[in-house]
Every structure is written in structure tokens, then in C-alpha cells.
């Protein structure tokens, strides 16, 4: 079961320099909320920003990670 820390580290290594906060919304290890501030989002549409984050986890989103709520912004 993934932990918030694990998700945070994986996002941080995919988006170096990003400020990442991950919460386990239910305590069940499958509904997460990630808030990410990264330079990488500059110039991207919200869709593209979220896809970048979903991309870190591939097929796990919708499977082991049942739900990943995302909030992205630029510094």
C-alpha cells in the first residue's frame, strides 16, 4: 500500500525542485491529495499539468492508488 511519503518522494524525483505535499484523505492508503508547486508547470494548461503528475504513477492511478486529487501551481 503506498504511503503519502512514498508518493511525495516519487513526485519530487520526477519533478526536481518541486514543493510537494501529499495527504492520505481517508487513512486507507488509496485516496490521496497532492499539492504541487513546480516551475515545470509554467506555460502548461491545467490538463497538461495534471497529466504530468498522473504520469509519475502510470497504471497505479485507478488501481492501487484509487484516487489522486491534484492541485498544481507555479512558484
Amino acid at each position: 500500500m503506498p504511503t503519502p511519503d512514498e508518493l511525495k518522494q516519487r513526485i519530487e524525483s520526477a519533478l526536481p525542485g518541486a514543493e510537494v505535499q501529499v495527504q492520505d484523505l481517508t487513512g486507507g492508503g488509496d485516496h490521496f491529495r497532492a499539492e504541487i508547486v513546480s516551475e515545470r508547470f509554467t506555460g502548461l494548461s491545467p490538463i497538461e499539468q495534471h497529466k504530468l503528475v498522473y504520469g509519475v504513477f502510470g497504471d497505479e492511478v485507478g488501481a492501487a492508488i484509487h484516487a489522486l486529487s491534484i492541485k498544481t501551481s507555479t512558484p
Binding site: 491545467p46 490538463i47 495534471h50 497529466k51 497504471d59 492511478v61 492541485k71
Partner: protein, 136 residues
């Protein structure tokens, strides 16, 4: 039904319906909080939209994510283009961007939670029961 037929159906639905929502459950009976909030935002704006329940056959979801590149449900398409899932749609709703994009007026009571509007909207206002076609 073959997977390719499902995909063709989904592509056609996205093309034919200016506002197309793929969700878990229906606008009247959403089966997931994220789907409920997204449908609620559309209901609150009073726009006409088509909604398809992805739950009856898991291949609907697989094919949808395959063509949109978006892993989760709900997914909202406007004018044939993926606008986002629950987070993006709600953020756009709150900023008034969704109303603008859809040419709708924001509800006058700004404090109203979109989800609360689900029960208030007449069914005739939108949701087209596309799922029936896929279940045949």
C-alpha cells in the same frame, strides 16, 4: 460488444455532445463523490450535457482512458476536448471559468455548494441516457 466498438461509441459521444461527462453512476445517482461534484457543477450552471456511466462495463473506462490519456473518472469534455477531472472542473467552476467556457451564468448565490444543486435541477435539463446504447 468489441473493444473497438466501445471506443468508436465513446469517440462519437464526445464528438456529438458539446458537453460530455463520463462519470461513475448517473447525475441523478452518482456512485462516487468526485463524479457527484463534477455533475453538480454542471447542474448548478444549468447547462445541458450528456452523461455516461462508466461502471456497467469496465472496458468503457479502459477505452476512455486509452483515448483521453486521463487515468481517472470523471472526465469532462467540452467541444470534443478533455477539460479535466473533478479537481480541474471544480477549480474552473469556482473561478467562474467553467461558466464562461459554457456560456452560462454563475448561480447568484455564490456560497452554494455545487453538489447541493444536484437535487434541485430537473432531469429534463440535460443528462442524456447514453448508457442504454452501450448496454445493448
Amino acid at each position: 460488444m468489441e473493444n473497438t466498438q466501445i471506443r468508436e461509441f465513446l469517440e462519437q459521444a464526445i464528438k456529438d455532445n458539446e458537453v460530455m461527462l463520463f462519470m461513475k453512476g448517473t447525475p441523478e445517482q452518482p456512485a462516487c463523490g468526485f463524479s457527484m461534484r463534477t455533475a453538480g457543477a454542471l447542474n448548478a450552471l444549468g447547462v445541458r450535457y450528456a452523461a455516461l456511466d462508466v461502471l456497467p462495463d469496465q472496458r468503457i473506462r479502459q477505452e476512455l482512458s486509452g483515448l483521453s490519456g486521463w487515468p481517472t473518472i470523471p472526465q469532462l469534455f467540452i467541444g470534443g476536448e478533455l477539460v479535466g477531472g473533478c479537481d480541474i472542473v471544480m477549480e474552473m467552476y469556482e473561478k467562474g471559468e467553467l461558466a464562461e467556457r459554457l456560456g452560462a451564468d454563475m448561480p447568484e448565490d455564490e456560497d452554494m455548494e455545487p453538489a447541493a444543486a444536484v437535487d434541485e435541477m430537473p432531469v429534463s435539463n440535460g443528462p442524456i441516457p447514453l448508457e442504454n446504447k452501450l448496454n445493448r
